[in-house]
C-alpha cells in the first residue's frame, strides 16, 4: 500500500479526521459533509492492489476512491468504497505514519455503534474512546462521555492503536446508529461532538434536511459495506471483556 500526495499543502499543526465506511456509514457521511462544507481540496490518496478494482468519476475525471482532503488546519480521510478487512492493518499503519509526518496534534475517528432501538431515538447520543491520557483529558474537559470498558473493532480501533506508538492523542466519536442503514442523524451527532473537541463550527442543518436524500444515495455503499462490517467482527463490540481490573 502507498500514500500518494496529489497537492502540496503546508499544514499548520492540523487535526486529522477519519471517516471510513463502517456502521451506518456514520463516518463516511460525516466526512463527506465536512469536506463539502469547508470546501476541502484533495491532497492525497491511498493505493493498494488489495483494494477493489474501482475508480470513481467526479466532474468527468477519474479519482481514487480512498482519498484524503484538507486545508492547512484540517485533514479528512474518507472512502467511497468499502475497505477490505485484509487491508485495514496496512491502511492504519500508512495513514498514521503520514499523519505524524504532517505534524497532526489530534486524530478524531468518526463512527457509529449500533443499537436495536435506534428508530425510536430522535437525537442519537455520542460516546467517545480515547487512546491515551491526553485524549481522555480532552474528552473529560469537553464533557463527552467516555467508554471505559469494551472491545473495539474496525479501522478506527487500529488507527487509535497505531497513534499510541507515536505518542499522539486520538479519539473515536461513536454515535448511536443503525447497523445496516445509512444514518445521517448519527453523522450530524458526531460532527457536533467534533465541533466541541476541535473548536470548529461545522453546521449540520443542511445534512439533517437532506437526510432522506443521503439515505437513498448511500444505499449502494451501505449494501457493499455489509460484508466488511461482518468481517470486522463488529458484533464483538457488543460483548463483555473477560479481564477485570
Amino acid at each position: 500500500m502507498k500514500l500518494v500526495e496529489d497537492l502540496q499543502m503546508s499544514f499548520k499543526s492540523p487535526i486529522a479526521v477519519e471517516g471510513l465506511p463502517d456502521i451506518g456509514l456514520v463516518g463516511t457521511i460525516a466526512a463527506s459533509h465536512i469536506i463539502e462544507q469547508l470546501n476541502l481540496k484533495q491532497v492525497a490518496h491511498l493505493e493498494s492492489d488489495e483494494f477493489p478494482p474501482v475508480m470513481v468519476l467526479h466532474g468527468g475525471v477519474i479519482k481514487n476512491p480512498v482519498s484524503i482532503y484538507g486545508n492547512d488546519k484540517l485533514i479528512v480521510l474518507t472512502s467511497e468504497i468499502p475497505i477490505p478487512v485484509i487491508t485495514i492493518y496496512d491502511t492504519a499503519r500508512v495513514i498514521t505514519r503520514w499523519f505524524k509526518d504532517k505534524g497532526i496534534t489530534l486524530e478524531v475517528s468518526l463512527s457509529g455503534f449500533p443499537i436495536q432501538d435506534r428508530v425510536n431515538i430522535i437525537e442519537p447520543k455520542v460516546y467517545a474512546v480515547a487512546n491515551n491520557k491526553e485524549s481522555k483529558d480532552i474528552l473529560n474537559k469537553k464533557e463527552i462521555e467516555v467508554m471505559e470498558e469494551g472491545f473495539l473493532s474496525g479501522a478506527y480501533a487500529l488507527i487509535l492503536k497505531e497513534l499510541i506508538k507515536y505518542d499522539l492523542p486520538a479519539i473515536a466519536l461513536l454515535s448511536q446508529s443503525f447497523l445496516k442503514y445509512p444514518d445521517p442523524a448519527a453523522a450530524a451527532a458526531v460532527i457536533l461532538a467534533l465541533n466541541k473537541i476541535a473548536g470548529m463550527d461545522i453546521g449540520v442543518k443542511n445534512l439533517l434536511e437532506k437526510g432522506d436524500e443521503i439515505r437513498i444515495k448511500a444505499r449502494d455503499l451501505m449494501r457493499q459495506s455489509e460484508g466488511t462490517i461482518g468481517d470486522m467482527l463488529k458484533p464483538v463490540e457488543q460483548t463483555i471483556p473477560i479481564m477485570y481490573r
Partner: protein
C-alpha cells in the same frame, strides 16, 4: 492474497449492479430496492425496511403469504436526480419494491406492521413449536 469471501462479494456486487441496470431500463416504472434487515428476536421474525422519502404508511402496500413478503412503497412525487451513477441523464424513481423470503412457518393472522420515521418494522410471530426438555 485475497480473502476467501472477496470473489463472492464481487459477484454479488456485479449482480446487484446488473439488477439495478435492468430496473433502470425496464420500461416506464423505475423502482428502487430498499435496504432491509431480518432478525429473530424472542421467537418473532423482525423485518425492517429502510424507506427514506416515504412520508406516511398510506403509501405502503404489504402483501404477505406463508413464504414471502412483498413490499411496495410509492413516493408522493417522483424522486429525481440529474445523474445516477454513470447514467448521465435525469432519472426519476416512483416506487420502492422488495420481496423478502420468510425463513420459517408463520401465523399470517398475527403479523403486525409499524412505520416510524422512514423505517418499516414488520413483526411476524413464528409458529415453530417449542417443546420442553427434561434435564436428568
Amino acid at each position: 492474497m485475497r480473502s476467501k469471501g472477496i470473489p463472492y462479494r464481487i459477484d454479488k456486487i456485479i449482480n446487484e449492479m446488473e439488477d439495478e441496470f435492468h430496473q433502470l431500463w425496464s420500461g416506464s416504472e423505475r423502482w428502487l430496492e430498499p435496504l432491509s434487515e431480518i432478525s429473530v428476536i424472542n421467537n418473532d421474525i423482525i423485518i425492517t425496511v429502510d424507506l427514506p422519502c416515504i412520508e406516511n404508511k398510506d403509501n405502503i402496500t404489504l402483501n404477505l403469504n406463508e413464504h414471502s413478503l412483498e413490499i411496495k412503497a410509492e413516493f408522493i412525487k417522483p424522486i429525481k436526480w440529474e445523474r445516477w451513477g454513470t447514467i448521465q441523464k435525469e432519472i426519476g424513481f416512483i416506487t420502492y419494491k422488495k420481496t423478502i423470503n420468510i425463513p420459517e412457518k408463520i401465523n399470517l393472522m398475527k403479523v403486525k406492521a409499524k412505520f416510524n420515521r422512514g423505517i418499516l418494522t414488520i413483526t411476524i410471530p413464528s409458529v415453530s413449536k417449542k417443546s420442553n426438555i427434561k434435564i436428568d
